[in-house]
Amino acid sequence: MDMMKKYLRSSLFLFLAPALVYLFIWRIVPVFYTVYLSFTEWNLLKANAPSWIGLDNYIYILSDGRFFNSLKITILFLILATAVEVIAGMGIAVLLDRKIRGIEVIKGLYLIPMLITPVVVGTIWYIIFHSKIGPLNYLLMVVGISPVKWLDSPTTALYSIIIADAWQWTPFVVLLVLAALQTVSVELYEAAKMDGASATQLFRFITLPSIKRVLLIVAIIRGMDAFRIFDTVFIMTGGGPASATEVASMLVYRTAFQFFKLGYASAMVIILLCVISAFTWIYVRTLRI
């Protein structure tokens, strides 16, 4: 099909060019510009243009406790949120994977939080956790537990944000695990049951292996998302109290648009990119996908 090839090739550029050019301008060039900015000092309040300072930003970052604190918080968030969501998601998927009346409606309702505007998710949970108008502490009191400070205390603020995050994103894990469970054959379960396998054995030897791949993918996706989280934190704590929830994106935003240190913020971004790449690489290598 030589003619066919020629025919196709003549239009290749026409189809590919718009998307490529657009992405090049809006997604790729800016990354390189950020790299350039990371070697400059550019304080919006003082200067109109960036001035080259070489590696100074990076040298300064090495002794910047605030930056390392935010990295630590981000990674803690990454590990805890992923663990909670993957484990809960697996359980809930198994719970929902049965043919009973009304289960489709329940599944539909369960997936709602995933598509709710994150800023509003933050608002919702801010209200739920609130000491005066929130219902949560009252509920705890009814059950006999003393009130928790949730977002107002540095020790619990991050966990509170993880609860909100799990509310929104566990459904995503469930959606993917449910889809993977569809591919497990019923005969396999039946056969194993005939052989006298217990429920735990069924899960361990049939269910788990068939959803392993999806779980790994989810872990990677949620891992990368941890470096994106911004909206809910912005609303719920603004990074506080006392930098206890100042995740990476939050610190970059503040450094750039509240303290106007653009060069320094860019250097933070570049280091973040390195950390993310390393994380993804470790995931892929150790989990062998």
Partner: protein
């Protein structure tokens, strides 16, 4: 398989708890939005009272909140449209052609979606300033389009690959240009996929916050930014009003979920699993 009665009860109880955990926060947001100042701070929290919708009217009519709403609708709609045009063209190129370096190019496109949004925030902010587009809807549309093109390419390629190649070949023998084939045959055939992708991208654009926050300040503010800036300026004290804004912001999404759930889930699944 038969399950014992106690196990059945157990499952039903768990399902009810799950539904409460999922829906109660949304319900409580709505509840707070229709509380009057009188019942707002009641302990224990009131669940039964005569609801007041006056704050909705107040925000939409008196405070002209519909402007932010309109901004969100326009911005999400046009950036989705641009994404679909650029993205479907690109996706078709990747499914129909096996050109040199197509794998590498595809990888590059995917990588542009993987790094966190904050990576390009500063340069894009300056590009927009430089073009004199700060605080315009155009600025937000331009930025959003860049985010979601890779996503559209990713999903639509999967759809296009299901279309038999014979169709392209026979159309070419009839003398149709590839553009005509694409327009008249490929696009109509994959319309359900395009619709599913479009709805999902619309929701993602509607929900975006960080870039809208930085690229707008007053005129072009989107609904999520309006929620956040209200929360900031009113010092988180006007709970009723804040939750009114929250409910209004997610209302279109709930409507979409209600009527187009099938499409949304289809898009989400392909978007995530085909990795």
């Amino acid at each position: 398989m038969r399950e014992s009665a106690s196990k059945k009860v157990c499952i039903v109880v768990l399902l009810i708890l799950l539904m409460i955990f999922t829906l109660f926060p949304l319900y409580y947001l709505f509840l707070t939005s229709v509380k009057t100042a009188g019942v707002m701070f009641d302990v224990p929290p009131k669940f039964f009272f005569s609801p007041s919708f006056s704050e909705y009217v107040n925000m939409i009519v008196n405070h002209k909140y519909y402007r932010y709403y309109l901004n969100s609708i326009l911005v999400s709609f046009f950036s989705t449209l641009l994404c679909l045009v650029f993205g479907t063209f690109g996706a078709f190129a990747f499914s129909a052609f096996r050109f040199m370096g197509h794998k590498f190019l595809f990888l590059i496109i995917l990588i542009t979606r993987m790094y966190p949004p904050v990576t390009t925030l500063i340069p894009v902010f300056f590009a927009i300033q430089y073009m004199g587009l700060h605080d315009t809807r155009t600025a937000v549309i331009l930025a959003y389009t860049g985010f979601q093109i890779p996503f559209v390419i990713w999903i639509m390629r999967a759809f296009f690959e299901d279309i038999p190649r014979d169709i392209i070949e026979s159309a070419s023998l009839d003398g149709a240009t590839l553009l005509t084939t694409f327009r008249k045959i490929i696009v109509p055939l994959s319309l359900p996929g395009i619709l599913a992708t479009g709805i999902l991208v619309f929701v993602l654009n509607w929900n975006e916050f960080l870039f809208a926050l930085v690229l707008t300040s007053y005129v072009a503010k989107t609904a999520p930014v309006a929620v956040a800036s209200f929360a900031e300026t009113e010092g988180m004290l006007q709970w009723g009003t804040l939750s009114v804004l929250g409910v209004l912001t997610i209302f279109p999404i709930l409507i979409i979920m209600l009527f187009l759930r099938k499409y949304l889930i289809k898009g989400l699944l392909i978007g995530a699993v085909k990795g």
